[in-house]
């Protein structure tokens, strides 16, 4: 993802360290971690911090953002969703074939081309990267927990309503009725996938508890 903005803080680092401990314990070659949760709950931030920590440990890794894998480009997505109805919002919006191709490239340690959205131009650029020597793949995104072959499936326990309360969303975008409907629908889909996860992160700042 190009031109995205991250807001990194201690809670992301703390969460990333908790995940790191687990990863180091059970690391196998070509290890896949997914980080899922609702919009603006800090998935990308946790992924980024975890990436930095793994690099410090000398472990080759790559971050993948599922937002790059939507079949419909960002600028056309709203119209498309309006035309197809709110039920079209969900994990079938991802291009799973392209996701599989990227995962195959990672497993085989090959030069691989993947989509990379530029948030300024709204275009889907193509990024070519070499997976040779890359041991860990961190995949973050609303529905990344659907990737069955992942070794560790992290789920962030926050809802979009919490995010709205923290004014994180309203600072970034206009929340009109249609956007609220989408957020509600994404919430339902993400929560329905929650049982697939095996590592639950709770950002409840009063307790700072991370549980398995």
């Amino acid at each position: 993802m190009l031109n995205d903005i991250l807001l990194l803080n201690k809670k992301h680092e703390g969460a990333a360290r908790t995940i790191l401990d687990r990863v180091i314990q059970e690391l196998t070659p070509k290890y896949i971690i997914t980080i899922s949760g609702e919009v603006e709950t800090g998935k990308c931030e946790v992924a980024h911090m975890l990436g930095r920590l793994l690099k410090k440990e000398g472990i080759g890794l790559k971050l993948l953002h599922m937002d790059n894998y939507y079949k419909i480009a960002p600028l056309e997505r709203n119209d498309w969703r309006r035309r197809h109805g709110i039920d079209s919002v969900g994990y079938n919006e991802y291009d799973w074939e392209v996701v599989s191709r990227t995962l195959k490239g990672f497993r085989e340690g090959k030069l691989t081309t993947l989509p990379c959205v530029d948030l300024f131009t709204g275009q889907i650029d193509q990024l070519t990267t070499n997976f040779a020597g890359i041991q860990v793949l961190i995949i973050e995104g609303l529905y990344s927990v659907k990737i069955e072959e992942a070794n560790l499936k992290v789920f962030i326990e926050q809802t979009y309503r919490d995010t709205i309360e923290e004014q994180k969303l309203s600072g970034k975008e206009e929340l009109d009725d249609f956007r609220m409907q989408i957020l509600e629908r994404e919430h339902q889909v993400v929560q329905s996938l929650k049982p697939l996860a095996d590592f639950y992160l709770d950002f409840d700042t009063s307790s700072e508890i991370f549980h398995y």
């Binding site: 903005i5 991250l6 790559k62 300024f120 131009t121 193509q126 990267t129």
Partner: protein
């Protein structure tokens, strides 16, 4: 550039607001803006904010970071500089100008173009393929960006590394060490030698000043 950390502040927003009318006044298709300044002076932040404001004006603008265009891979750069001596090694010759001009030509000609794209988390050099069709402007930022020929608007940030030492530590980009300070001093000399090329200056208080 993937995985870069930006610290966008009010000063960047304010400077961009003053620069925006200059750009709009001279608006034309295939307009090129360049931003130079020393390490930690806020080039990428300013570039990001300007591109975002242009987007609001309906202008599609793609930021291009010249840090992607070093001929020597990030992981090998220090060793390479040590082998060649700071005076000879550090400077304009470190950029791969052929690739820079090839990408700029592709931008001018609405072509599909492939450019280097460094992943700062992994320090890998990936390649990004983008279609410049419909991209109205590019903003090139980097130490020596205003050295680029054929640029329409050149912006120079006057903060030196002496003033931004703190900013660098805060950004946590790299540990301060003596060798790094020598490099910064040499970069400082080269960047300052380009100063006269600028059309717009951002002074040490981050105020925008137009040249003559």
């Amino acid at each position: 550039m993937l995985g870069d950390v930006l610290l966008i502040g009010e000063k960047h927003e304010n400077a961009a607001k003053i620069i925006l009318p200059h750009i709009l006044k001279n608006r034309k298709n295939k307009y090129i803006i360049a931003i130079s300044g020393e390490s930690g002076s806020g080039k990428t932040e300013l570039s990001h904010v300007i591109a975002r404001m242009l987007r609001k004006e309906g202008i599609i603008c793609k930021p291009i970071h010249i840090d992607n265009y070093y001929r020597i891979h990030p992981l090998e750069r220090t060793e390479w500089r040590k082998a060649h001596g700071i005076e000879t090694a550090v400077g304009l010759g470190e950029y791969d100008w052929d690739t820079i001009y090839r990408n700029i030509d592709d931008f001018r000609n609405d072509m599909i173009s492939t450019m280097p794209c460094i992943d700062l988390v992994t320090e890998q050099v990936d390649h990004l393929t983008t279609d410049f069709k419909g991209i109205e402007m590019i903003i090139v930022d980097g130490l020596y960006a205003i050295h680029t020929e054929g640029v329409d608007l050149r912006i120079f940030i006057e903060l030196t590394y002496h003033e931004t030492k703190k900013a660098q530590v805060v950004r946590g980009k790299e540990p301060q060490n003596e060798y790094r300070m020598h490099v910064l001093e040499r970069e400082h000399q080269v960047v300052q030698s380009l100063r006269d090329k600028a059309d717009i200056f951002i002074n040490k208080e981050y105020q925008v000043v137009t040249a003559r």
